[in-house]
Structure formats: structure tokens, C-alpha cells
Amino acid sequence: MSKELNIWLDNLLSDIESVQFQRRNSRRVRVDVGSEALPALLELLQGRASYVHLSAITCVDWIEDGQFELVYHVWSYETRSLVSVHTRIPRDPGVYLSIYDLYQPAAFFERDIHEMYGLYFEGSPDMEKFILTEWNGPPPMRKDFDGEAFVNEHFHWEQYHPQWLKDLEEEGGGITVRPEDVR
């Protein structure tokens, strides 16, 4: 049964024009789809092909292309395969549709992406902050937010300069390569 469903799905997906389909192995499928067709594709996968478990939604910030990539990983308990649906949306204004009415776990992932990337999902039940409730800066997971610069600006460091190091320096030695030189 599961084999047939897999073959049926393969045929179906390779027939749809706007969908790029790539089967990696028997349990992993990658699908690239336009952002306007994604909810329909997910509905198809859930309703007709038993992909009922939303494993995760991942957001990737492709800052050079000016795009966010959203990856929806859905798993079928029957065919035992995982379909990763990739789609790209423009980085600005960063608004997309929620799939909460199809998959309820999406609420957490969409909320998470909203606070980490500032990407807004229309129709999501809850776009309030969850983790960064006391954070006033920009969405931190965006590539243009430099975490290290923020840390250097806001936090104080304890200089570690122990006696043994001072002794070494008196003899003319000391640290020759610092971590920041390597990086």
C-alpha cells in the first residue's frame, strides 16, 4: 500500500508544472514550489497522501538574494517518508500565509519564526512573542544582525590576566596567537 502511494505521489508531483520534484531516497523527498501554490500542495499532501505530521517549519535567511526560504517538513505515518517542501518569499515585506488550519503544530513554529526573523504569518492564531518577550532589538536570527557586535557593545568582560601569564610576559613570552587572529 505504501509503495503504491509513493509511486502515485511521485507521478502526481512530477506532473504538476510549477513543482520541482526530487526524490533523494526511499524516505526523503524534496519539493520546490512557488509560494502561491504551497498551501494547496500541503493540503493535497495531507488530505490525499496521509502526510499528517508536520515535523518542522524552518526559515532560512538568504540575505544576498533578498529572500526567506521556508521549508515545511511533513511526515507520513503510512508511507513512512518525509517530504520537505521548499518555497521562497521576498524578504521585504516578509509576510506569508499561515498553515495553521491544516497543521496545528504550525502555530509554534510560525510564532518562533516571527520573533526570530520578523516574518509575519497571516492567519496564525498567535503572533505574540514567546521567547524574546524582554528583547527590544531587531529579530536576532536575521543575517544582518551581528550578535558579536551586540555583545561587545552591551556586555562587560572580565579580563583574564593571571599571575602565570604575567610571569611569562616578563620573560618575554606570552600569547602569540589570539583566537580573534585565527578567525
Binding site: 505574540e128 518577550t133 524582554e134 528583547w135 527590544n136 532589538g137 536576532p140 550578535g147 558579536e148 551586540f150 555583545v151 552591551h154 556586555f155 562587560h156 568582560w157 572580565e158 583574564y160
Partner: protein, 245 residues
């Protein structure tokens, strides 16, 4: 401060301790020693898992390492706790709660920083979300380094604190009152200028007679400017009422 409070014994004891004089009554010395001994042998540590080092506390508390034989017990409320264990990294959100908790604890109180992250940020030195040097925000009595320290290390750190208490060296809680301006300044730098806690530290410092020239300063002036009258904490719930749905 009203005049009746002038004769409270704790005040006399502190004065004597500060001036370094021995009391004239030999019985009082015995009593002081007894108090210190008892303090060091019944330490109630606050049950607050602030970070990942807390995973080594259950082994340390239960049958194998058994901290209770040293008189150390978990305590659920800050009002009755003596020790605040900061187990690991403190995110900024947690640090606010830690300061609130610390100010609610009754004196004398002690802070132990467990794990490397409390010393200098540890492996989260790059992280935008964690505070780096705990000592900037709270006076710390003992640091236990390691990632994470084994239960033996935790117990040895606690024993060191016990010795410090019985010999009268663990007095860092007074520093919080004496240098309140410094600690408040660091807190304000991180949490914003309008940061305030429900506890009135300056009044408490007056009560304990621990006011120094460092207690008040520019940061406490800023605090007074922003301080709102204290009222019952408001809590909002934005959840949809599930029964109606």
C-alpha cells in the same frame, strides 16, 4: 527610621563587627560564635534551576552524595532561603528574576555561582541573550567553575561557604547594600533606565545601618526619577478563553 529601632540587637552586633572590637561580655562572644556555627550548619538553598548546571544538583542532593548530611536542604520559597545557587548561564530574562528573588531573600544571604558561564560567560560568550559576568549584578560569595561541576565540586564549594560563614568572612550580602549604586548601574545598563524592583533596597540599607557613600549615587537618583508607586503586580492574560471557543 523611627527611634524605637535604634535598640535592635542586630544593629549593635553589626557595629561591633564593623569596628572589629570584641564585645566586653564574654558570654556575648560565645553567643556570636554559636550563631555563626548554627548559620553555617543549616543552609537552605533556593530551589531555582536557572541553567543547565541544575542537572547535577539532584545527584548531589539525593542518596549518592547526600548534601543533607551537611545540613543543606532545598527550600522552595526565597523568603526562607539562605543560599541562591546560580546554576549556569543566566539569560537576561532570568537575570531579572534572579535579582527579584535575591532582593526578596532575608539577610544574611549568600550567592554561589556554579558553572563557568557565571564567571565570564563561558561558552556563550557570543550569545546576545545571556549576561556574562554575574558579579556585576549581584555580590557572589563562591564561584564553582566547570562545565558542569561534578557533585563533589558542588559540595566542596558549599563546604567552603560553610567555613566562610563560620569564620565570618562571607559578608558579601552587605556589599549589595553598601555598593547598591554600582550594582544598580549595571542592572540599568542591561535592563533599561526604568528598571525597578518591588523591594526598597535603600530603606533596607538604612534599616541595617549599611549606608555608605556608595549606596546612593547617580543611578539611584535615576531610579527615584522613574520609580512608580508600588502597587499589586498586574498580570495580563491574552489567551482566548478556551471554554468559549
Amino acid at each position: 527610621m523611627s527611634n524605637e529601632l535604634e535598640n535592635i540587637p542586630i544593629r549593635q552586633e553589626l557595629e561591633v563587627l564593623q569596628s572589629g572590637q570584641k564585645r566586653t561580655n564574654p558570654l556575648a562572644n560565645v553567643f556570636d560564635g554559636l550563631v555563626k556555627f548554627c548559620r553555617s550548619r543549616s543552609m537552605f538553598m533556593l530551589h531555582y534551576c536557572t541553567g543547565c548546571g541544575a542537572i547535577e544538583l539532584p545527584p548531589a542532593m539525593t542518596s549518592r552524595f547526600d548534601m543533607e548530611r551537611l545540613g543543606i536542604q532545598p527550600m522552595v520559597t526565597p523568603r526562607q532561603a539562605d543560599i541562591l545557587l546560580i546554576t549556569g548561564y543566566v539569560s537576561i530574562k532570568t537575570l531579572k528574576r534572579i535579582i527579584l528573588t535575591y532582593e526578596q531573600m532575608g539577610s544574611p544571604k549568600y550567592v554561589i555561582g556554579i558553572c563557568s558561564c557565571t564567571v565570564n560567560g563561558g561558552m556563550y560568550w557570543q550569545s546576545y541573550a545571556t549576561a556574562k559576568v554575574l558579579r556585576d549584578y549581584l555580590p557572589v560569595d563562591v564561584y564553582i567553575a566547570g562545565c558542569m561541576p561534578r557533585p563533589e565540586a558542588v559540595i566542596s564549594g558549599l563546604r567552603e561557604l560553610m567555613e566562610d560563614i563560620s569564620s565570618g568572612r562571607a559578608e558579601s550580602w552587605k556589599k549589595y547594600y553598601q555598593h547598591y549604586d554600582y550594582y544598580l548601574g549595571n542592572q540599568q545598563k542591561l535592563f533599561g533606565e526604568d528598571w525597578q524592583t518591588p523591594t526598597d533596597i535603600i530603606a533596607e540599607a538604612r534599616h541595617y545601618d549599611l549606608m555608605t557613600e556608595h549606596t546612593l549615587g547617580e543611578h539611584t537618583a535615576l531610579l527615584e526619577k522613574h520609580q512608580k508607586p508600588l502597587e499589586a503586580l498586574e498580570m495580563r492574560l491574552s489567551v482566548k478563553d478556551k471554554q468559549k471557543v
